[in-house]
Amino acid sequence: MSVLVFADSAEGKFKKSAFEVVSFGKKVAEQLGSHLVVLTINANKNEELYVYGAEKVVAVSNDSLKTFNAKAYASAINQVAAAQSASVVILDSSIDGLFIAPMVAVALNAGYASNVVALPSATNPFTVKRKAFSSKAFSNTVISSDKKVIGVAKNAYGIHENPVSGTTETFDVSISDADLKIKSVKIEKITGQVTIADADIVVSAGRGLKGPENWGMIEELADVLGAATACSKPVSDLGWRPHGEHVGQTGKPVASNLYIAIGISGAIQHLAGINASKVKVVINTDPEAPFFKAADYGIVGDAFEVVPKLIEKLKAFKQA
């Protein structure tokens, strides 16, 4: 029996979530008195994972897996899970992780818990805490099937070093045409920008900004902080900003270290999506705006005065 972790990479480089799921998987293996096996697909520096406790890395390299394909990735994971007699399979809960995991769960006839925020609180019955009601609550969920699939929520458990002297072995998987029936035609990415999923800091603005022409200062603030930009739902519905920036209960979830909300009232649906962020700052003219109840730090003031000053002061701070 083993605990199998899938450590995701893009263009050979591990994603940050890979280090978090390996850290998590190491502890789960200890809890179960089992051992950890980490699967990587076309990754360049497998030894990077030893730092987080990966004593055994199974490295798959396969040209059919050069670009992400959920079903083919699921198939690779299933083949390694079988070869390593995995009883628990652990992935991240990113867009791609959420795409793969349900298919893995069916192949293993396993119960699946996504968006898990902490180590299992018990192993018998196997109990995990996960987000529910769009982060308005958590559920303690028992997985009762023999095999289990877990999706770890971003930035909840964290990255923990646990250095081991690891080994990497290669493994051949066979990817059939049936696994490749979804063809990627084109990938369009806004390059040179931090994505909301990756960002440690997110700068978000709402209808208080009055119009799309005023987003220059939001982008500049994000730039100074190395942050991603986001917005409230009406802002994307009005076409002021692209859909991909809409955060909240019905948009993207944000689990950053710092979330700065500018001219956003703090409606319950907005707050639901950003609850998982660690530190929240609000800038709003209205001291009664509900966001002040959810925030750690607040400035009652006009965004058009506060934001330019904040940019200027931050530039000075970064230079010092």
């Binding site: 795409f99 769960a105 958590f138 559920s139 909301i196 710092l258 750690d296 931050l314």
Partner: protein
């Protein structure tokens, strides 16, 4: 084209979330239930296929009798008929197994579902359903067109979109973008009247064990109160973010 739209019945997004019976049961007191917002986008897309490409549209829910008003609302929006699998939905895998039976017996070739239910946020039923049926599967879909049996789609990825090509039979888990907010339909009087006469078939579940079970719920720890900083004193904010919160 025979389309099946999976409808989950969820608390309205404005609902206060509370629990009863020692935090083991969701408190439905005063809660209004609606069609899961992602499912509503998908249902609207299905209506376009019906109107422009002559598809038939069935809606399905796995749930107890309390979900029927939600299915009637989907019929009022324009679905042709509805199916309710008479079972308490508690676990993604067992729900997917029920839906797989419905798809097989009804011969559907396109299944539309939501990216996730906003109550339990599993994000698992559509992918599991596709795997059980051996159908193609696209998650997080923000646009799709069907031409014969060829399908072109786009899905959201981190920081952009990916265009995909595939074929029916297919399960799609959709979200806003598959149609826009402004395209959503509010049922009119005629729709509501007609919905009463449309078939809502109740079928009994097949045997399928649950793989997960909620033991209890918890609410997030209450937040301390906000620290207000004077708008003239931006240095103080930077100082707090750097030295106290340690996030910059």
């Amino acid at each position: 084209m025979k389309i099946l739209v999976c409808i989950s019945h969820v608390p309205d997004t404005t609902s206060k979330i509370n629990f009863t019976e020692n935090d083991t049961v969701f408190d439905t007191n005063g809660v209004q239930f609606v069609i899961n917002p992602y499912d509503e986008f998908c249902l609207t897309r299905a209506m376009w296929f019906k109107e422009k490409q002559g598809a038939t549209v069935t809606v399905v829910n796995v749930g107890n009798a309390s979900t029927e008003p939600t299915l009637r609302k989907a019929l009022a929006i324009g679905a042709d008929d509805a199916i309710r699998v008479n079972m308490e939905a508690t676990d993604g895998l067992s729900v997917a197994k029920q839906l797989a039976e419905v798809v097989k017996s009804g011969g559907y070739d396109l299944v539309l579902a939501g990216r996730e239910s906003i109550d339990y946020n599993g994000g698992m039923v559509p992918g599991m359903l596709a795997a059980l049926l051996d159908f193609n599967f696209v998650n997080g879909c923000v646009g799709m067109e069907v031409d014969g049996t060829s399908v072109s789609l786009s899905r959201e990825i981190d920081g952009g979109n990916e265009s995909l090509a595939t074929a029916l039979p297919l399960v799609v888990a959709g979200q806003k973008g598959i149609v826009e907010e402004k395209d959503l339909r509010i049922p009119n009087m005629r729709g509501i009247m007609m919905a009463r006469k449309k078939p809502l078939n109740v079928v009994e579940p097949v045997d399928a064990e649950s793989a997960t079970m909620v033991q209890s719920f918890e609410k997030p720890a209450p937040k301390g109160s906000v620290k207000l900083i004077d708008a003239e004193n931006i240095d103080e904010l930077i100082n707090l973010l750097h030295n106290e919160a340690k996030v910059i």
